[in-house]
Amino acid sequence: MKIDTVLHSDYTVVSIAGEIDMYSSPALRDMLLTLVKKNTATVIVNLKEVRYIDSSGIATFVEALKKMLAYKGKLKMAQVPDRLMEIFNFSKLDKVFEIYGSIEDAANS
């Protein structure tokens, strides 16, 4: 898994590539919690290059979302590949996360 973070004036884009599993999700958690600690208002997670996510990856996003809601921050998902969308649907997370087709859509919403 690779994580690439870009800070824009209004939002921060976290682009992830590869597989999010029990091995890699701690690094993702560290990154998201760093943003949470800074009370980042809007985090857009670009999932375009993610080939796999397991329950630990989902748990990581849910944890970050809950922490962000506490200070009224927003965690938005963008460019979710079909297979991941299927997993989000199955986990009923499509109702929990804001999901957008593109990073622009996520930024402008």
Binding site: D21, M22, Y23, D54, S55, R83, F90, V96
Partner: protein
């Protein structure tokens, strides 16, 4: 694997770093056994979750142990057997939470049950655990979901 032929067996150290090897093997074994593209994806995911649980719960994150995973084509269907030598799983501990209750954790079992028709711990195993997962041949997603 034609039915009744030798299984594919893989042993990894109980470290999350090796889960990618198990996923690749599970995916290919499932494809070879004719489980279809989406079936193979679900099987890969389920086996990964089951092995993650072995590391977390049976081995309490001790990364110096081993996990053995066997893939075979049986009369019943595609069967995966996961063995460890860790703490016995207490079935009562395995709580299945409702998916509607959104919180971190508790999803793994759902992914395992999504892919497999039967999920049982073999009671005959003295030390450690032997989890036997079976996906029936020609089961479509709908049939698996309905059973739940």
């Amino acid at each position: 694997m034609a039915i009744g032929t030798n299984p594919i067996v893989i042993t990894i150290p109980s470290h999350p770093r090796y889960l990618s090897v198990v996923r690749a093997a599970a995916h290919l074994a499932a494809e070879i056994c004719g489980m279809g593209t989406s079936g193979a994806e679900d099987i890969k995911h389920a086996v990964d979750e089951a092995c993650s649980n072995v590391i977390k719960y049976a081995y309490k994150c001790d990364i110096t142990r081993t996990i053995t995973i066997k893939f075979e084509d049986t009369l019943k269907g595609f069967q995966v057997t996961i063995e460890d030598s860790g703490c016995k799983a207490n079935i009562d501990d395995i709580k299945i939470r409702e998916l509607d209750e959104v919180r971190p954790g508790g999803l793994g079992i759902h992914f395992i049950k999504k892919a497999f028709n039967t999920v049982v711990f073999d009671k005959k195993k003295r030390n450690g655990n032997r989890l036997i997962l079976t996906r029936y041949r020609n089961t479509d997603e709908a049939a698996i979901s309905k059973q739940k």
